[in-house]
Symmetry: C2
Subunit: 212 residues, 2 copies
DNA sequence: TAGATTGTTAATCGATTAACAATC
DNA sequence: TAGATTGTTAATCGATTAACAATC
């Protein structure tokens, strides 16, 4: 298999490039784009962009750059599963609901097909087109809806237990908003988004920069 | 000035350690803790923890480890401004509202004191104890409330303009949820949280791991 | 062709890891 | 003391950057 281990950061940047191209393509509509133009939009170096794009196997043309349409297609072939992937969200609090709204229709190949919570008053409803279930129903729903990706927006103390359920049901990718380090077996990829940590970091550097 | 340039990642981990200690301290209540115990909770190595803690200038004791209470205090002295810092949020959409709720009362030294939007129907209200203003009022409110940190939850096309306003008003730290690379002058720290990118990354690796 | 770009290799940089000395 | 831990230095690792050859 080619490109057996591509850097986590490279995948992230490819996702960013594609979105910028889609946005740019819709408005400006230029047919070709240079690495330095993508770099300017994404806030990275042109060499970085070229190196990342080599990973997807799409070659640019010297002095003409990259064809926008083909490039978007190639990144899509590389990043997406053609038939799409279904996502389950666990934890229907304020953050969970915001994320349901945020991702609704944003990426055609990634759909949040079901949401789960342990509180009885939150289940058997529909939020932004997404059906809500009890956590106990996850195995059945995951199998029926073919859920391969999970988003955890539960409180910290419930996250580990939820993660274990997800893994047991065949989920290999987890986006974790709970502020705990999940203990997961090998073969499961977890991406953590810790908003409290991010805000404290920003506050620290703001304070430090203000002193100078 | 000692420790002139501490790694961005170190600051983030220190924030994580503190929260874990506060959580742990409240429930378990042990007076001392070893580096490997913190490491286990945070998902890093013990050597990493020791190196990070040296940055805050708090020394542990061989064979006894770190005093939990003193350690939390030392990290606080290092990370926080004693009188606290005020935060402004711009963009009162679903994500903005979720973040207002999420940070409400979570960190005593960091308070979101005002929210801003351009839509008339969203201003002059109070959401979770936070007053909402028109974006044009930002300079006046920021000066009055001493806002030094900004959270951007606007759509992508408004983010750069908003960021420039923040910087003009003396904000030195920005937490950016909009999926664009903000062009900022030196002396301003920006932390990006790109949820779409994170989900696409997770989906990619889930797909890749499922193939193996 | 000349010029500007792309693809590729070597050098640099920074953070992490591992090994060791110091300490209670 | 012996043992287990902490603080410190050197080695490793990986990603990024810079330099260069290839190409339209």
């Amino acid at each position: 298999m080619q490109n057996a281990n591509v850097s986590d950061k490279t995948i992230g940047r490819l996702s960013t490039y594609r979105r910028l191209l889609l946005y740019r393509f819709g408005t400006a509509g230029q047919s070709h784009i240079y690495s330095y133009q993508i770099a300017g939009l994404a806030g990275v170096t042109a060499a970085q962009v070229r190196r990342d794009l080599m990973v997807v196997g799409y070659s640019g043309s010297p002095n003409k750059g990259y064809r926008v349409e083909d490039l978007v297609g190639s990144i899509g072939e590389f990043l997406d599963r053609p038939e799409g992937q279904n996502v389950g969200l666990i934890g229907i609090g304020n953050l969970g609901r915001a994320i349901l709204t945020y991702f609704s229709g944003r990426r055609p190949k990634l759909t949040i097909v079901a949401a789960f919570d342990s509180a009885p008053d939150k289940i058997n409803r529909t939020i932004h087109g997404c059906r809500c279930y009890a956590v106990e129903e996850f195995p059945a729903v995951a199998a029926r809806e073919n859920i391969t990706v999970g988003i955890i927006t539960t409180p910290a103390d419930a996250a580990q237990r939820v993660a274990e359920t997800l893994v047991e049901c065949g989920v290999r990718g987890i986006l974790n908003f709970a502020p705990v380090a999940l203990k997961l077996p090998p073969g499961v990829h977890c991406e953590d988004i810790d908003m409290t940590m991010a805000l404290e970091k920003v506050a620290y550097f703001a304070r430090k920069l203000a002193r100078d």
